[in-house]
C-alpha cells in the first residue's frame, strides 16, 4: 500500500521503511518550538530530569511572542525564564523583543522550518507549517520537555482526509475563506486526530501566505496536521530562505485516505465564523449589518505581508468608522518593515488604525486590545470561543483581512465589494 505525504514524512523520521495510520511511533524531531506561555512549564519539566544539557540546541526554537513586550510583571518573569534557558543551553534560535515575531509567521519567513521536516511545537497552531510540505503538529509543554532531552516525540500516525478544491476563487476570497468554509462543512471535531491534506487546482494557484493561513486553522477542525504537497510555489518561497537542506514529499497514487471531500469553490463568498465556534460559518452577505466595536488584523493566521497589502488596498484614502477601534499587527519585524517601505503603515495610520509591534496579544485576550463586557470584535485570528479576546461576555466574529478592513470603515460586517 502507498503512503500519504504525512505517512512518508513520519516514516522518514523513524527507522521504519513504511508507517501507516494507527501505528504508534517514536519519531526524530527536526524542530521543537516553545513560546513564553508554554516553554516555562517545559523548562520546569526538563529540569526535573537533572540533565546538564539539552540533546541538540539547534533543534530548539524559543519565541516569546504571546505576552511580549512583557504585559505585566508575571509575564516578564516568564520571559526571563526563556531568556536564561536559551543562554544556558546556547539556543541560537531565541528571539528577543525587537527581533521576535509571531512564531508561525516567523519560522517560515526565517527558513528555520523547511519542507520534509518533522516539527512539534507547544502551540496548537504549529500545524501552520504543513503549508510548506512539513509534518507539523501542536503538542504540550511536557512533550517539548521530553524532546529537549531526547530529540524525540511519541506519535500515533494519523489517518488522512483529502480535500480537493475545484474551480477558481472570486475576488476578495482567500485561503482563510477556504479553511473557514471547510471547518463549516466538517465541524470543529470533523478531523479530530487526523491529517487534513489540501489539494486541487485552487490550492495549486494559492500563494504561500494563503496556504499558511489555511494549514494554520487545521487545528480548528480538531486535526493533528494540515498539509499541502510542495510545488513550484513552495520552491520559490523556500529556496532563498532555507537554513538547511530540504526535501519534497508527495502522496502516492495508491495511498489510503479515510475520506475524500471535493468542493467547487467558484461561487464561494468571503466567509465569516459567528460566535462561539469556528464551525459557525456563513457567507459574509448573510451577516452584513452586524455592528462591531473592534477590528483586529494580524495573528499567526493573517499577519503576513499579503494580508496587510489587501487591507491597505481597501483602507487607502479612507477613514475607519468613528465608533471602531482598528488594531493592526504585522506578524514579524520583516513584515512590519516591508509594510513601512510599501507605504501600508502610512495608509493604516491615516485611516486612524493603531499599528502594533508583532505580538499574539489580542487574539487570546492577553493584551493590546482586550474586549470589555458586551463588546463585539471582528478579527482575522483563528478562534471565536466565548470570551477568548477578553470579557467572558464578549463576542468574536472571524473573517479574512479584506472583510475586516471593509468592515472597519462601515462599523458593521461588510463585503469588500461594497467599499471598493
Amino acid at each position: 500500500m502507498g503512503m500519504t505525504i504525512t505517512e512518508k514524512i513520519i516514516a522518514a523520521h523513524t527507522d521504519l521503511e513504511e508507517v501507516h495510520a494507527g501505528q504508534f511511533v517514536y519519531a526524530e524531531v527536526d524542530i521543537c518550538l516553545g513560546n513564553d506561555i508554554t516553554a516555562p512549564i517545559a523548562i520546569e519539566q526538563f529540569e526535573t530530569l537533572g540533565l546538564k544539557h539539552v540533546l541538540n540546541p539547534d533543534t530548539i526554537v524559543l519565541v516569546p511572542d504571546h505576552f511580549t513586550p512583557n504585559k505585566d510583571i508575571k509575564s516578564a518573569q516568564n520571559a526571563k525564564v526563556l531568556r536564561a534557558f536559551a543562554q544556558k543551553h546556547q539556543i541560537k534560535n531565541y528571539f528577543e523583543v525587537g527581533r521576535v515575531g509571531i512564531e508561525h509567521v516567523l519560522l517560515p519567513e526565517k527558513g528555520i522550518v523547511v519542507p520534509g521536516d518533522l516539527v512539534i511545537g507547544a502551540d496548537s497552531h504549529t500545524c501552520t507549517y504543513g503549508a510548506m510540505g512539513i509534518f507539523s503538529t501542536g503538542v504540550g509543554s511536557t512533550d517539548i520537555a521530553a524532546c529537549f532531552a531526547t530529540g524525540k516525540v511519541w506519535l500515533k500516525v494519523p489517518e488522512t482526509i483529502k480535500f480537493s478544491f475545484q474551480g477558481k476563487l472570486k475576488e476578495w476570497v482567500s485561503g482563510k475563506d477556504l479553511i473557514l468554509y471547510t471547518i463549516g462543512k466538517i465541524g470543529v471535531d470533523g478531523a479530530r486526530y487526523k491529517a487534513m491534506e489540501f489539494g486541487g487546482p485552487v490550492i495549486e494557484a494559492l500563494s504561500m501566505d494563503d496556504r499558511l493561513a489555511m494549514c494554520n486553522m487545521a487545528i480548528e477542525a480538531g486535526a493533528k496536521n494540515g498539509i499541502i504537497e510542495p510545488d513550484s510555489c513552495t520552491e520559490e518561497y523556500i529556496n532563498s530562505r532555507a537554513k538547511r537542506a530540504y526535501k519534497f514529499y508527495s502522496s502516492d497514487d495508491n495511498c489510503s485516505y479515510s475520506d475524500i471531500h471535493t468542493y467547487d469553490v467558484s461561487n464561494l463568498s468571503p466567509q465569516v465564523a459567528l460566535p462561539n465556534l469556528p464551525e459557525n460559518v456563513c457567507p459574509v452577505e448573510d451577516v452584513s449589518d452586524i455592528k462591531i466595536d473592534q477590528v483586529v488584523i494580524g495573528s499567526c493566521t493573517n499577519g503576513r505581508i499579503s494580508d496587510l497589502r489587501i487591507a491597505a488596498q481597501i483602507l487607502k484614502g479612507r477613514k475607519i468608522h468613528p465608533s471602531i477601534r482598528l488594531i493592526i499587527l504585522p506578524g514579524t519585524q520583516d513584515v512590519y518593515l516591508e509594510a513601512l517601505k510599501e507605504g501600508l503603515i502610512e495608509i493604516f495610520i491615516n485611516a486612524e488604525g493603531a499599528v502594533s509591534t508583532p505580538t499574539c496579544g489580542p487574539c487570546l485576550g492577553g493584551h493590546m486590545g482586550v474586549l470589555a463586557e458586551g463588546e463585539r470584535a471582528l478579527s482575522t485570528t483563528n478562534r471565536n470561543f466565548a470570551g477568548r479576546m477578553g470579557h467572558p461576555k464578549s463576542e468574536i466574529y472571524l473573517c479574512n483581512p479584506a472583510v475586516a478592513a471593509a468592515s472597519s470603515i462601515t462599523g458593521k460586517i461588510t463585503h469588500p465589494e461594497r467599499i471598493v
Binding site: 508554554t38 507547544a122 496548537s124 501542536g138 504540550g140 500515533k156 479530530r192 470570551g387
Partner: protein, 164 residues
Amino acid sequence: MKGIIWKYGDNVNTDEIIPARYLNTTDLKELSSHCMEDIDPDFVRKAKKGDIIIAGENFGCGSSREHAPLSIKHFGISCVIAKSFARIFFRNAINIGLPIFESENAAIEINEGDEVSIDLDLSKIIDMTTKKEYSFSPFPDEMKGIIEAGGLMEYVVRSKHFKT
C-alpha cells in the same frame, strides 16, 4: 477513584478551562484556583477534591496550553470522562498523569450530582446513584507505558524508545 459528577456539554475549550488572563503564571495552586472559570465561575467553590468532570464531544479543544489539564489535576479532580477528547488535551493529560476516560454512554447517561467510581482493574465506570455500569475505551499498549510510569517525564527516564 470516587467522586461527585460535574457535567458539561460538547466542545469545552481550554480557554474556558483556564482563561489566558491567568497564563502569565506556572504556579499550580494559582492555576487550580481558576479551574473551569469561564465555563462555570462557581466551579472552584462548589467542587471538592476527588470529584469527577464529565463532558460531551471534543473536551479540551483549542489551545495546547498544558495549564488546562494541570489546573484540573491540581485542583484535585480525580478524572475526566467524555464522549471524546481533543487530541492535544488528550496527550497532555496522558503526559502529566491526569486520568481520562472515553465513554459515550457514560457521558450521555450519568447526571450531574451522581456519585461515580472507577474500577481500573475491571475497566468500569460505576454510577453508584443509578447503579449502572459503563465500559471505557482501553488505551493502546504504548500509551499504557506512559500512564503506568506516571507521566511522560518519568517514562522518558525508563523507556528504551527515548534513549538517545
